[in-house]
Symmetry: D2
Subunit: 357 residues, 4 copies
């Protein structure tokens, strides 16, 4: 059971990388919401491969078709289903290596789980391609949030060893965030960006890949969103983030660094600001206390592992022959998935938040 999620909105995801189509059904959207198709296309384009030297040259249109729940430009209130038909799939490539369990991929875990009946071509249901429907759903949710002035944006906090600073609480303005959310390679500092790009091109040349960390902010979230325990805003966002196969770590506010802090440092002291609103002087809790938003910016970071598909020769096993084997993956791969993961992570944030308000 893998593909149904949510409370206020329910997502149902389906599809395999080399099957007929991938798609998603969103249930629970209110009727009469304008769906801006260009806005959605834009978001999907941010994730789509083939747009720069930093990603795989595979061209995938990621053109979606809305099958239901959409009438006269608006949601009907009934389930909205969108599909993306698969194209440009060279399935033969996968026959040769179908028994060689690719390290870092889901091949082996999936083979055991599904008794070998899963569609192995291109990773099947485990393919990163399945994040396209997530971005579709996220775009729908994000637009609804934007209409409430809730803004989501991210920067790439690190690529390999190249790091830049966290979002600076005092510097974090809506305009800056919107600008970042439109950038193809969103970083705060120009020099960091140059170094990051350089390091990606270097691993590309080596036939290798590299990981990174993405930091995301959500501004203008009112206090009081989320629930204690099982539907906390942190639970909801992290649960969805870890649905993305490349994510290996999630932290909010000061995150793992909070383990080094004293209570007197970590506690975000409240005060009345000049607009008579309750604010905190610091944001070590990343805008969430007790699982519920407290009116400060929601801040979280996700660790993205290096693309497991690399050109370098790797050791592995042949699942049928039960023997050690050598794997040489052909094809066109992303040297760094981090930039393409940014819109996915923002989509997840939008979905998680809309599910709680």
């Amino acid at each position: 059971m893998s593909g149904v999620w949510g409370n206020n909105i329910k997502l149902s995801i389906f599809g395999e990388s080399h099957g007929k189509a991938i798609g998603i059904t969103i249930d629970g959207l209110k009727p009469g919401i304008e769906i801006n198709l260009d806005y959605i296309k834009n978001q999907m384009q941010r994730r789509a491969p083939g747009s720069s030297a930093l990603s795989t040259p595979r061209k995938e249109g990621d053109n979606f078709e809305i099958l239901s729940g959409f009438f006269n430009g608006k949601t009907t209130g009934t389930p909205l289903c969108a599909v993306i038909y698969n194209q440009n799939t060279i399935s033969k490539d996968y026959e040769i290596t179908k028994n060689l369990m690719r390290p870092g991929h889901a091949d082996y875990a999936g083979h055991v789980k599904y008794n070998g009946f899963n569609d192995y071509r291109g990773g099947g249901h485990f393919s990163g391609r399945l994040t396209a429907p997530i971005v579709f759903a996220g775009a729908v949710c994000r637009k609804i949030l934007e209409n409430k002035n809730i803004i989501i944006g991210s920067h790439i906090k690190s690529i390999g060893e190249i790091k830049e600073n966290n979002f600076d609480l005092k510097d974090l303005e809506v305009e800056k965030l919107i600008e970042l959310s439109k950038a193809e390679f969103p970083v705060l500092d120009y020099k960091s960006k140059e170094n990051m790009v350089e390091s990606i091109l270097k691993v590309k040349e080596e036939g290798d890949s590299i990981g990174g960390v993405i930091e995301t902010a959500v501004l203008n979230l009112p206090p009081g969103i989320g629930d204690p325990f099982f539907n906390s805003i942190e639970s909801t966002i992290s649960g969805l983030l870890f649905s993305i196969p490349a994510v290996k770590g999630v932290e909010f506010g000061a995150g793992f660094d909070i383990g080094c802090m004293k209570g007197s440092e970590a506690n975000d002291e409240y005060f009345i600001d000049k607009n008579k609103k309750i604010k905190a002087r610091s944001n070590n809790n990343g805008g969430v206390t007790g699982g519920i938003t407290n009116g400060m910016p929601l801040i979280f970071r996700a660790a993205i592992k290096p693309t497991p598909s690399i050109s370098k020769t790797q050791n592995t096993v042949d699942i049928e022959k039960k023997k050690n084997a050598i794997l040489k993956i052909k094809g066109r791969h992303d040297p760094c998935i981090v930039p393409r993961a940014v819109p996915v992570i923002e989509a997840v944030a939008a979905i998680a938040i809309l599910n709680l308000i």
Copy 2:
């Protein structure tokens, strides 16, 4: 909506710190499972306060009573409900400070969410005390897993700046893990322990508190557990972990460090071991690929924030007067919640896993 969770097993949690009782209902347990009450008491004792100088001197028996689903020493297959009646509650203390939003606590977020109708005494439904029912449920699940030889254990990886190494994959044996799971203050290295204890006593003296990081391992998990996407093992565990108010970060395997790795380093290469089993040479994925277990030890870490209740004077706001205010929290607090969080985190792991198998 806060208190219902799960698929194969369903948890329903309830209670406030100073109400009549807290408790949990577990639905979906198979009939005929022996419930070892001493085993459960032991686990609950690990979490209970008052056992050492490192925790609050408040004595809470945390004596549970099973109300249903339990007959002749075994589960009946119908919902199992356990309650812990509240005692030793000095509610008057809370009247004085009820309008002063304690920094780092859920007071303000909860006040907004519940329009001020929530039970504020001792944190109410947000109290860390609500982790006691989680430990109860975890103990039930954990025993079922142990009968399948699945073993859960943890060590304190850091307290403040005092760190010790991660679990060493080659060194991680079932016996070692069981030993750790019985220790009151589980650390791998004796010297680290001494330093950690010292640092906790130091902040205690200062009227302050300190955070830390817990690292948990699950051994003997068969491959194939979990689902892609929404019910991945990482999603399930992290979702539950972030239900614990003190957790601010969760990572699997190499976690955030994977962002610094190349694919050729991060990929865990498979081989056939001498028992003809498929294993990986490294475990940067922490035993999970594509959201599903791959037969390697499941490894994750959780960042625990310093107890927000400190004796030091803090700035905050008075929610009724809408004015800045000074807060001086009286009472007996944990200088470091990390040791008491260990059994909670292990409980969460047990619940999450049993929910997926």
Copy 3:
């Protein structure tokens, strides 16, 4: 998996007839709702046994205790748990007959399902006693609906062969319904009542029992409540009604009689009434079209089977000896459960409706 239900509100039920307690947790209630304990007690008293010659003389106080989610007389917004401790349980009676599968009861089906580990005493989790927590939850929901002027009431449409007419649409007024909802034995027509009572006393004398049909109306439900398909108002109500062990049939509006109608008869034609509201001239759809309320009174009927516990000797099997056997049930039984089922059915209606608005 038996005990968790709902979307907007979630119920979690637990308990066995002769265990320590039975109870229910209601999650999703808004904060700040006044809980009228007397109102709840009243509803529970309507279901409780021992109040007249028509029911079992067993005295069960059905005194509930609210454990959580309730503070200063109001809901807190966190899960509300109520328990009813079991008393007056003569468990020894059940030891003698524990292997004799009582006809009409869940004994055999339950024995197979739970591999014999279920608590058989007094029917255990299958006992009609478990409807007491349902009435508790229903009373909470019902009061919330009453505050919105939504009124629920019923009459006993038949006891055995003694029938009275259906609710007359033109005659169905809020005052009449409230009056019925307070009657111990609610019937529209005095003569019918007399005959019904007489027929119950007759079967009681015979050591037998008798069934009946209950008809329920909900007035002032606004149009637009419910969902097409899986969460239709009919699906939600019928799903809950069939959770009550005695219910064997559920119909809305004209119900089974609609099978004899032509479209031109069955279709409820709309018109604009003098208050400029859209109404229908008939109500064969019982206030629901396409699964959604249409502003007409919601009307449904439930068939209640005769109490399976009778004093007459019955044939059955001994589950342990795998042999035919003779069963003679001792004890005090309801000759007719219909009057006590009325508040349960009304509770179900209240819960189902509150779950959809």
Copy 4:
């Protein structure tokens, strides 16, 4: 929220009658199950219109396309999505009458619920056409049950006033049921069939429609399936049955007639049969006690209302003008939906049962 259902399997339905497509996603199917496309086509053909003089002459191919979860002729274990593209849709017809609320249809209830944003063409999401995906899902489930020798079949128990007897318990054999499940117009008795067909042709001539009752049996269901309370087999089946817009009543076993019975008549006495199995001498409980199967045939009946679309002139209101109006529905309608409802009801039974085993 309308379109997600289930526990062990989860259905997600989508689509509008005149949109691009309708479809369903089934999550939770085990991997490696052979999908017999011809078997599914056959079931869908039973529901499809245009096959006889008794149904609408509209030709709808109801050709489905499986988009995911299906590989090399078998299920993969990942979500299986199937769509049916809409064709032959004359949407202009609906523009003229879009403001005239058709009596007996969901038009008015849906208009209020969705604030007028729903797709009104051909009933939109409320269309009976949405039962086609249900039949698809049912066919998949049914085949899995058949492989376990669990057989589902029905007969038309009545059309208007023309009735035939209920299934006779002694006469109900697997072969007979399979034969019925292949008949286009399944009735037990030839003379009844003739009369039923005649009565349908008569109302057709009148421009009217007629309702009926369908009785369904499931043979070879093992005892112990279903749960007490919320997931009882009766709750599950009835909840799904009432998702079908035409169903206005559901009863199990003796159903509403049980209200006239005494306990000594209604109780199904157990005995050991010659194969040493526990059976009951009667089946007034329709194979279910306490919400759980007891090994007897599962028997239920559903009341089907007459097709609301009739050619006769009807009174109604114009929702925009807020005025009384006259409605004359053009087009090609089913004079009796009962025969086409049979496969839908059997599909629902298959889905409900597979969800519980």
